[in-house]
């Protein structure tokens, strides 16, 4: 049981895909302008990662070693197409906001990386737990970047509209004169650089202790 818990938890902190292994940077920076987009992207990646890890883990003894990468890509692309169609049909606003980054989940290194490094060597249960952990880790880091960029860059937090709640929280004081650059491309790279430095500082401190 302890090892199963480990597979689940490692993706969230110890092997966090965004800040520690540094995989899947393109969507991370591309869609983190609004919290709602980050959550939509995180959920899509979690879904694709979960099902592709399960399918690849089930097929790991069937797929010949020489053509494993193309086979993985076909499995992943099928699930990405499902996500695309579902989002297009039910949440068109998120579909429009994610734009070209949605089909680009296919080439997100996290998913192919987990298939290659984990799912083709481990059991279905472990692979599913690994996928959930990694997916949550990715969603959390993406949301963190989006929170920083949106709060300081626009002075708002955009969530999904529910009932009488319009979905946008405005932060007084910041929304009048936000640091506009953070919502632009340059801001994304700067925020990522400082966050990565922060995590390097954390790791170096915990190693000393």
């Amino acid at each position: 049981m302890a090892s199963h818990m480990y597979e689940l938890k490692k993706g969230i902190f110890k092997e966090n895909p965004t800040f520690i292994i540094m995989l899947g940077m393109c969507p991370t920076l591309g869609v983190s302008t609004q919290v709602s987009n980050a959550l939509g992207m995180g959920a899509s990646v979690l879904f694709v990662l979960f099902f592709s890890n399960i399918v690849i883990s089930m097929l790991r003894k069937v797929i010949p070693d020489t053509i494993r990468i193309p086979s993985y890509i076909v499995v992943i692309a099928s699930f990405v197409t499902i996500v695309e169609m579902v989002l297009h049909a039910f949440v068109p606003s998120v579909y429009a906001a994610l734009g070209v980054y949605l089909p680009l989940i296919v080439v997100n290194c996290i998913i192919l990386g987990r298939a290659e490094a984990f799912a083709n060597k481990n059991t279905v249960l472990d692979s599913a737990l690994d996928a959930i952990g990694m997916g949550i880790g990715f969603t959390l880091s993406l949301t963190l970047i989006a929170l920083i960029r949106e709060i300081f860059g626009a002075g708002t937090i955009t969530l999904f509209p529910m009932g009488s709640f319009s979905g946008v929280i405005t932060i007084p004081g910041l929304s009048e004169s936000p640091v506009r650059v953070l919502t632009l491309a340059a801001g994304a790279l700067l925020v990522m650089g400082y966050l990565k430095a922060f995590f390097q500082w954390k790791t170096s401190r915990s190693e000393k202790a």
Binding site: V74, T81, V106, V107, L189, G193
Partner: protein
């Protein structure tokens, strides 16, 4: 849009790395020295230019006539994977010298977002075949320019004292961010003022 307009758009205004964040993994991973940066940039340019044309042909001659355009993502990634393999074999046969220079970068390109990205962007913008080719070429050139600039900055950083927590990847991201700030000077008004729209 004119062909020069497309070139300027994807090299400067919509630069794949500094504005659209496509292909960041090789940008950070392979930019340690300028030689490998040039190799990677050339390999990517080569593949994006061919892939955007081939994907355009597959989409318009195969997927649309059979009403299969929802299979776009799957079809494109397979086409790109096969194409990269083919390019690798052709270069190996035709020009061993070029293969030696680009060889190790070619397999990495299949999972480079820039290649799939430009193929999809070209379809979304309803480009014709030649426009797709120019868009692919320009995207690759923009990538090459950014990665070569970055590698020069990183070679300078090697000999500069950097605080240990910023060493390596963080300082690379921050330098890229400052480069992106400079690239904000190129926007849509550039295209309008040059009468390229």
């Amino acid at each position: 849009m004119s062909y020069i307009g497309i070139l300027v758009t994807y090299i400067f205004v919509q630069n794949f790395i500094l504005v659209q964040f496509m292909g960041l993994c090789p940008f950070i991973g392979v930019s340690r020295n300028s030689e490998s940066a040039i190799g990677m940039g050339m390999a990517v340019t080569f593949v994006t230019a061919i892939a955007s044309v081939v994907c355009w042909a597959v989409y318009h001659f195969l997927l649309v006539p059979f009403d299969l355009d929802y299979l776009r993502t799957i079809a494109f990634i397979l086409v790109i994977a096969a194409l990269v393999q083919l390019v690798e074999m052709v270069i190996k046969k035709m020009s061993p010298a070029l293969y030696k220079a680009l060889g190790i970068y070619l397999p990495l390109i299949t999972t480079n977002c820039a290649v799939l990205g430009i193929a999809i962007i070209a379809i979304d913008n309803n480009y014709n075949m030649l426009e797709s080719f120019f868009a692919g070429l320009a995207a690759g050139l923009g990538f090459t320019m950014a990665i070569i600039l970055m590698s020069n900055i990183r070679e300078k950083l090697e000999t500069t004292a950097v605080r240990s927590v910023f060493n390596g990847v963080p300082i690379a991201f921050i330098s890229a961010g400052l480069m992106a700030l400079a690239f904000m000077a190129f926007d849509k008004s550039l295209i309008v003022n040059l009468h390229l729209a």
